[in-house]
Amino acid sequence: MSTGLLAKCRAALDRGTDYVRLYGVFVKNCLSAGMEYRFNFWMGIAVEIAFLCAKALYILIVYQTDLHIGKLTPDHILLFIGTYTMMTGLYMGLFYVNFIRLQQYIRDGTLDLLMTKPVSLQFLVSLRYVDIGLPVPNVVAGAMMIAVGWHRSGLPLNGNIAGFAALLLAALAVTYGIMLLPALLAFRFVQTGAVTEIAHSIWDANNMPLDIFPQWLQRIGVYIIPVFLISNYAPKFVLNELAMGDIIWAVAAPVLLFVLVRWCWKRAVRSYSSAGS
């Protein structure tokens, strides 16, 4: 019995390793494809650096306005904004570039060939492209804001960092689920630009701590559409504002969301009618 379980675990681990390796090939291909166009590649980096400088102005704004939200000082708020900025960068670079292509795959039938590959179609469609340049200014600016906020708030550099990083990973998984769900509507309606816009508007609600919203909205944003988990829970953890129940929810939500996404994905793919050829 235990041998069978062990074999299953080993097979799952092998498969996981294969997927990680495959993801590495995706990243390599995207990077190589980007570098094929030298002018665009260097210009892209220059533009991203300019954006990085613009993002740095956020820090000035927070301090010049001396913004306080409840018990949160400008240093704390910077921690929240930094997390939001970093997550936006990761979402744009890792997920958005794929989710936006889904409607095109469905409209022109590109999905047909992807479907015949012996790997998870969801993996292939939702993680095939990585934009290396797009997330750089957001991730770097976000990391800078987090570092400044952390330091000025006098937070200790101990196990908190591991907790903060783990919650960021959970937030990344939540981001994947929340933002993929509306994209799946493309299987039914093909063009889903309007829904994507709504999803992005909801996403933007994260650019300030959730404390600015009324209680009922906070509950919706945490438990129904858990968008507030993305950029609030990691800073709240280091500020000791998360109860044990919140931490359990932060771990459970991505898992539940992933199960929901898998279920929706399977149903959506089943109804796929391809494009004429």
């Binding site: 494809a33 590109t110 047909d112 479907m115 796929y272 009618s273 391809s274």
Partner: protein, 351 residues
């Protein structure tokens, strides 16, 4: 033993029709009349292991839809199919490892990268051992004569070269079953011939089962021994390709331009024993004649000093298919409104 077994397989698509103009677009926003198209209707056939079958039919006949169902891309509306022992639309990983599909109009190559990068990606997807990958890549690239192009950016390749790369990418895991949907579409004569020869060699070497759709009869004649003719979603002919060619392939069309006006009754009387007059307008005519009778007919027309110019052509495949279909189903499948047979209008609640 059957590699593919199909029983009463059907696929119905829902669609809607819109007349041109902004007014209709506006109306369409609020109400759409749902229509259903029976792309494939109760087809059944078996394909043995190692057999190469040409899937022939006009546009919209249901060829690609059938291929998509057999490769697991589409779920059927009804019916059963087993491909290599698997139900294709269950999309099992082991099943996907054992076949390949090439679609002439769709690409799996990364446009901005050399083809070898896309092929390497497939190596990782299929989990092919490095040594086996190198061997297969060398072998396929040599057979298709594109070894020197593997490192060239895909967007810089010609259509023919790109199709060859698509074929290599699709076959890198050495599948025993190939679904080929118009693999020579748009290629020039030399490239078509090259692909054809490759497919034949691959089939013979690997004992592969092939289901090939093509608009070019030569592709099918070169690679396949059996033909499945589909029209209006139904199988109109299933048998040896040679028998089909015997029935229809030995008919020729002679298009004649006369030196002077010739009355219809005179032409009919003259060629009556050798040919059938399909069209005639006094100065030009189209005659259908058995391949054996082309020479006597030509001699007859020359002897009477009637001809200024002529051409001799094959009977178009579409027409052959139409005849096969009519021979099997009569005229019952023809739609009143000129749509493809099998298209029926129904209201949504009836569906």
């Amino acid at each position: 033993m059957s590699a593919i077994t199909v029983r009463d397989l059907s696929k119905t698509f829902a669609y809607y029709r819109k007349q041109s103009g902004l007014r209709h677009s506006l109306r369409n926003l609020f109400h759409r009349e749902q229509l259903y198209r029976h792309a494939v209707a109760n087809i059944s056939f078996d394909i043995g292991q190692g057999e190469a079958v040409g899937f022939i039919g006009p546009n919209g006949a249901g060829k690609t839809t059938t291929l998509k169902m057999l490769s697991g891309i589409l779920h059927p509306s009804a019916g059963e199919a087993r491909v290599l022992g698997y139900v294709p639309w269950e999309r099992r990983r082991e099943f996907k490892r054992r076949f390949a599909i090439v679609m002439g109009q769709k690409s799996q190559l990364w446009w901005d990268l050399p083809a070898n990068e896309s092929i390497y990606l497939n190596k990782c997807i299929y989990g092919i051992d490095e040594r086996e990958y190198r061997m297969t890549l060398d072998e396929l690239a040599e057979m298709l004569d594109v070894k020197h192009l593997l490192g060239v950016q895909v967007r810089r390749l010609s259509l023919g070269e790109r199709m060859k790369m698509e074929i290599i990418a699709a076959l890198i895991h050495r599948p025993k079953l190939l679904f080929l949907d118009e693999p020579t579409l748009g290629l020039d004569f030399a490239a078509q011939q090259n692909v054809r020869q490759f497919l034949k060699a691959y089939k013979e070497e690997k004992q592969a089962t092939i289901l090939l759709t093509s608009h070019y009869m030569r592709d099918i004649e070169h690679v396949c021994g059996r033909a499945l003719v589909i029209h209006g979603g139904q199988i109109a002919y299933d048998g040896k390709l040679s028998r089909m060619s015997e029935s229809f392939g030995r008919r020729k069309r002679m298009k004649v331009r006369f030196a002077a006006f010739i009355p219809p009754e005179e032409l009919h009387e003259l060629v009556r024993l050798l040919a059938v007059v399909r069209t005639h307008d006094g100065l030009t005519a189209e005659l259908e004649v058995s391949a054996d009778e082309v020479k006597p007919l030509a001699r007859l027309l020359i002897d009477h000093d009637l001809v200024e110019d002529w051409t001799v052509e094959e009977v178009p495949v579409e027409e052959v298919i139409e005849r096969l279909y009519k021979a099997k189903f009569g005229n019952e499948g023809e739609g009143d409104d000129g749509e493809a047979p099998g298209t029926r209008q129904r209201h949504a609640q009836e569906g």
